[in-house]
Symmetry: C2
Subunit: 227 residues, 2 copies
């Protein structure tokens, strides 16, 4: 009788960008039964949610979108119409940093993991390109993992949560090479902080510049649609 | 010239129940300029949001309500219509436990604190009556405080966040005595897990029973409106 492998469930945070699409492909390659979670947090670049839906469909995984009114809190160029998205490189922590964003995202992923009986959460954070975002660093992820143990029914009962960050030390070019190897359709991903409603990129924001440089460094043609 | 004391800002999580109303009064007594945050998470007892608004108005503090579609995730009698609110006492972690709820709430409070430049967050968790909820325990709160340091711009730059839990070791009777001393209008608070749209309590759920027993133990007349 053939052995039937039961896949372990995992929650994968899926923004609709190139990093999270690659993270999903890596989680699938590792044999997880993935459940993709996107957050509609009043971000300007809503086209990324459409992209997330397309990526999840392509990967054949369940996809949920949770709305969070983070724009009520403001404080970021991505959620607050009064703060402009810069069209030039900036020093230090950028205005596109959304206060406590990854903590909110991981908390919701943790909640869904509890409901699904999953112990594994994947997030496509990157400490190389996003060194200015405190919540993209390995020590932050380790602290969230410790919190998850204490925060949950499952953790209290002795289960172990694992927050996977397979991209955390990769360059953008390496992420693009990995995604290409795994067949990720990068044309369907949206990275731009100021994409138009059809998902066409501005070419000027930090996210656009990083992405374009990544394709160039990887020696892979850039399929991004620009406005 | 008289000394002008500048009040330190604090974010206070305000659910509309008697615990968080007392927490707000305690934070004000400690001299904080309070900003109240309520979360609309698809909970059944929506009357508590109306109560939260009334409490914040009465206290003269800014109040924001952030919507989060946690019902998309489900898994709790408070957010999932398929799970009934029990009308009898239960053992272990109750079905009214909302997966990762306090983590989501504290994350949003942290985000708003960052925007306000506040270092203090108040939450009315209680480890005595809610011993079945993992995210009401002191060790959980300590872990969140450590996470806040690593998660934020301010924490990375050397600031120190403090998560205050003034009720964590108090009995319900002590909370009611404290609130009474501080002039909290308990008639305007809603604790019931299954309140009707006018905020009238069911008298049968765990939250109703705890509240009624608390007033009795405190020897203070119970102003709760029952359906």
């Amino acid at each position: 009788m053939p052995e039937i492998a039961t896949k372990k469930p995992a929650v994968v945070l899926l923004s609709g960008g190139l990093d999270s699409a690659t993270t999903l492909a890596l989680a699938q390659e590792q044999g997880f039964a993935c459940h993709a979670l996107s957050l509609d947090y009043g971000q300007r670049h809503n086209a990324e949610l459409t992209a997330a839906q397309r990526i999840a469909q392509g990967a054949g995984v369940e996809h949920k979108v949770v709305f969070i009114g983070m724009n009520v809190i403001g404080g970021s160029a991505l959620t607050d119409a009064a703060i402009a998205v810069p069209d030039h490189a900036t020093e230090g922590i950028p205005v596109t940093y959304v206060p406590a964003r990854n903590t909110v995202f991981l908390s919701l992923a943790l909640g869904w993991a509890e409901v699904l009986g999953a112990w594994d959460i994947f997030i496509g954070v990157n400490a190389v390109d996003y060194s200015g975002y405190p919540d993209c660093r390995p020590e932050y992820i380790a602290a969230f993992q410790r919190l998850a143990q204490l925060a949950t029914k499952g953790g209290v009962e002795g289960g172990e949560f694992h927050v996977h960050t397979p991209l955390i030390q990769l360059s953008k070019a390496d992420i693009i090479r990995t995604g290409t190897r795994l067949g990720v359709n990068f044309a369907g991903t949206v990275s731009c902080y100021a994409a138009d409603k059809d998902g066409r990129a501005c070419s000027r924001c930090d996210a656009c510049r990083l992405r374009a440089a990544g394709f160039q460094a990887a020696g892979i043609p850039d399929p991004t649609r620009y406005a």
